[in-house]
């Protein structure tokens, strides 16, 4: 199995989730993260004092998929998350040695 990890723009999450569902991905886990990259941050001003905030809100999405699906899933994510503006994020793939479904104890392909 492979773990596909994506960093995307928060407001694209619903689109990505729908695209993944369509592509047959039935499970995923997401969380709010802060990204640092080319996009740059923004400044905030409090009582005239200016601060630079370097981090930008992003969403991280993780899905464990079968080996053969990984590249396709990564592409589905990339396609549905794309806005063509800087800061669209990354998708990367890592190897998973074993996965267990806690409820049933099923392992690997059956557990996804």
């Amino acid at each position: 199995m492979k773990l596909v990890t994506a960093i995307i723009k928060p407001f694209k999450l619903d689109d990505v989730k729908d695209a993944l569902k369509e592509a047959g991905v039935v499970g995923m886990t997401v969380q709010e993260v802060q990204g640092f990259g080319r996009q740059g941050g923004h400044t905030e001003t409090y009582r005239g004092a200016e601060y630079k905030v370097d981090f930008v809100p992003k969403v991280k999405l993780e899905a464990v998929v079968e080996d053969g699906d990984a590249e396709r899933v990564a592409d589905v994510i990339a396609d549905s998350a794309r806005t063509d503006k800087i800061g669209d994020g990354k998708v990367w793939i890592t190897d998973v040695l074993r996965i267990v479904r806690i409820r049933t104890g099923e392992v690997n392909e059956d557990a996804i």
Partner: protein, 420 residues
């Protein structure tokens, strides 16, 4: 004026002033976190600009002179209002009413939430206050030096105890005009836009209810029997409306909600506003309950008709205010007020259909003026400066883009950053 009544009106003024921060929390909690500050600021700004506009020009236009439609410049810039001469009696009402003038346009903020340019709002508010609020106020409350009602609606016998027509119907229909000019939020209605903090909404609702006792019972202008009755009615109407709304929810949606309770309270308060000093306690309860039920349904109309009234200003203030104002035509009962009962009786208390007709006319007049002027002001503003934020600003949220602040910085990460 006796010291007890001076005290009552001062306290009432403070309470009504407190309502605008209360409204800010009520609305601020209802928008998404990324727009919370913009909402708070739109409300607070009204409490900044409107009192100044009111004492300079709004008050004199709304109260002085002899015309049936608008005041003159006799009190321009508080001219001739000297507390040392009348014990403060006139100035007392200048600021009591200034508080009403301030919260009225603030109500509109709920409709235009999440997408209006702040600079457009900044210009819109004083214009609206002078061009829309002052005239309608004059029509209903304008008096001559002898204290007789001379505004063309008030003179006919229209009743509006504390501003159902002048404030809620007026602001509610202006809200409709505003969202028609402004258009829907991106993503509406498909995307979920849940309140970001319901505890804040409830805190705001509590403050609003508290302040509304000054709004309604203070509008008696003295600590008298009418004030006492208005107080009781304000209490009962809000309570009954809360229940009315919750019952609709329980039956229709199978769950009573916290936002429903808060919304019901406000609907009841809106509805009793025009009627508070004209009806008995059981009628006050009935008006509240009816408004709670009607408004619980009315807030869904926007989905049917497709106008994005973000926080239901139309469904609650317009519909609630109209409901209460018309119900005066049924429930007004001067017999319970002794010598203060100098107004017409409603249909159920032996007064025939006449009062209901007057109420309908007054609301219609206010609706037309408010809708047309609001629409026109915003169209002109839109042509000159644009009234809507860019797509990027709307997506990222107005707080970081328009005010370069964020509402909440809870975590350790949010303190990360360096001064420049």
């Amino acid at each position: 004026m006796d010291a007890g009544s001076v005290t009552w009106v001062m306290v009432s003024a403070a309470l009504v002033i407190f309502m605008t921060p209360g409204l800010a929390l009520f609305y601020g909690g209802m928008v998404r976190a990324k727009n919370a500050l913009n909402m708070l600021l739109m409300n607070f700004y009204c409490l900044g600009i409107v009192p100044l506009v009111w004492v300079v020009i709004g008050y004199t236009l709304a109260t002085s002179g002899t015309s049936p439609v608008i005041g003159n410049f006799d009190f321009f810039g508080l001219k001739g209002i000297i507390v040392g001469q009348d014990g403060g009696e006139q100035l007392l009402f200048v600021f009591f009413w200034a508080a009403f003038a301030a919260i009225t346009p603030a109500l509109i903020a709920g409709a235009v939430a999440d997408r209006i340019k702040f600079v457009a709002w900044v210009i819109f508010i004083p214009l609206w206050s002078v061009l829309v609020f002052s005239p309608i106020w004059y029509w209903i409350y304008g008096k001559n030096a002898a204290g007789e009602l001379i505004g063309w609606l008030g003179e006919r016998g229209s009743l509006d105890f504390a501003g159902g027509t002048v404030i809620h119907v007026n602001a509610g229909i202006a809200a409709l005009a505003a969202v028609l000019v402004l258009g829907k939020r991106r993503g509406w209605p498909g995307e979920a836009m849940p309140p970001h903090s319901l505890p804040l909404v409830l805190a705001g609702a509590g403050i609003l209810w508290f302040g509304w006792f000054g709004f309604n019972a203070g509008s008696a202008g003295a600590a008298n029997a009418q004030a006492v009755q208005a107080f009781m009615n304000t209490f009962l109407a809000a309570a009954a409306a809360m229940l009315g709304w919750l019952i609709v929810e329980k039956i229709r949606d199978n769950h009573a909600t916290t936002l429903g309770a808060a919304s019901g309270i406000v609907a009841g308060l809106v509805a009793i506003t025009p009627a508070a000093g004209y009806v008995g306690g059981m009628a006050g309860m009935a008006i509240g309950f009816i408004a709670g039920v009607i408004c619980a349904f009315a807030v869904s109309a926007k989905f049917k008709f497709g106008f994005d009234d973000s926080l239901d200003v139309v469904g609650i203030h317009f519909v609630g205010g109209l409901t209460g104002s018309l119900l005066i035509g049924l429930f007004a009962d001067p017999s319970g007020f002794g010598e203060l009962g100098t107004f017409d009786a409603g249909l159920f208390f032996g007064g025939g259909w006449g009062l209901l007709g007057e109420q309908a006319l007054a609301n219609l007049a206010a609706m037309v003026w408010s809708f047309v002027l609001t629409f026109a002001i915003l169209k002109v503003l839109d042509a000159f400066i644009g009234i809507r934020v860019s797509e990027d600003e709307e997506k990222q949220g107005l707080d970081t883009t328009l005010h370069i602040e964020t509402a909440y910085n809870f975590g350790e990460l949010s303190s990360s950053g360096r001064s420049v």
